[in-house]
Symmetry: C2
Subunit: 215 residues, 2 copies
Amino acid sequence: MAERIQNCFLFSEFTLEELRQFRENAEVKQFAKNQIIWQYGTPAKQIGVVLEGCVRIETQDYWGNRSILAKISAFEVFGEAFYCAHISARPVQVCSDTDTKILFFGIPEVPEGNCRTQFLEKLLQVTAGKNVMLADKMRHITKRTIREKLLSYLSAQAGLRKDSRFTIPFNRQELADFLAVDRSALSKELGKLQAEGVLQFKKNHFTLLKSSEAD
Amino acid sequence: MAERIQNCFLFSEFTLEELRQFRENAEVKQFAKNQIIWQYGTPAKQIGVVLEGCVRIETQDYWGNRSILAKISAFEVFGEAFYCAHISARPVQVCSDTDTKILFFGIPEVPEGNCRTQFLEKLLQVTAGKNVMLADKMRHITKRTIREKLLSYLSAQAGLRKDSRFTIPFNRQELADFLAVDRSALSKELGKLQAEGVLQFKKNHFTLLKSSEAD
DNA sequence: CTCCTTTCGTTGCAAAAACAACAGACTTTC
DNA sequence: GAAAGTCTGTTGTTTTTGCAACGAAAGGAG
């Protein structure tokens, strides 16, 4: 049992006996690079944990255009939302990005009792955390203009830090990707906002100023 | 106990004894219209369930502009994501939209044993469901143009129904709001797509056609 | 210090979107 | 069945954005 699944947050507090029992019930499979692990549209009957390697979460549209939603690396979980929501057909496909070893299981495979309760609470924490992040991002992205998206995001950051001066964890390109806009257009808008005296910035350090009529 | 909290999905399978015990531990409070229920920035130490009336989830930016994220009505849950993710400061405020009666509780208040496990699984299901919907919406919204957003959304619908002919649950304005774009611009783009032979539609019934180079 | 790479701001231009306004089709209501 | 209201497509105009390209600034490596 060289994979040390205790490295995964979900199992970090299992006892040795619980780990042993869980590993007996769960399934481990190996995949070569670029194999399909879960086909698009299949029912979500298991949760996956990457033990070695890296997998891609992908979508494919009606006309065959593929796009990568995320990459999941060692000791990270995937498919848990589809599993827990009991959906009948996964809206994505999962593909090995390198040679991989994957652990598959369902909640019934988790040892009963205190262990399972703890596991569920952790899974809930992970899922809820993703939820908060998604909802937060959604709040900014749904604004119509780059200016509004920026002010919404920066405002939230200031609120979070409880300080009108703060540093963001993104460089320009990353911020543009996060807000789903063009980098140069973002830079342009930042320049305008600074010229208008709404805010000041220097690299990724920002200061929000006085009042404005923005949303 | 006139509120019949069994109407709430989370508690629908509690036994009478479990319900009684739970209600002893949980807290019920009444609010007049437009009172602040949870202040922005406060720690998320409880989950809320609306028993009577309706509440608003709101944000407020650095310059004081308010925006409504959601309205929660009777027997619906709110704040569960913040609670389960153990965040230290809620990024939203919650306000009574009408006179309301709210049930507040934390997980320790749920009777132990089988009951709690079932509750956690249900809560997980609800949270995961929101997660799937949010991620799904995000996939479409992050596309850069209205055309791409539309094709992404419609493509996903076709995939979901496993049929290139399908009906969507939105009218034009609602679809525009969902994709975070202007209604008339959306109509315009739909017209173009139809003229180009990419798809056909009639009200909210759509048919996707042949191939295209869109993403 | 110099070369190389990455990041950032800027510009011009073409494309796309927002906005406002209107007319026809369809619904609902009385 | 007429009137009022809603939903949808369309058009024209203005604003915003995406895109491509470039040069300056910053940071690292040798």
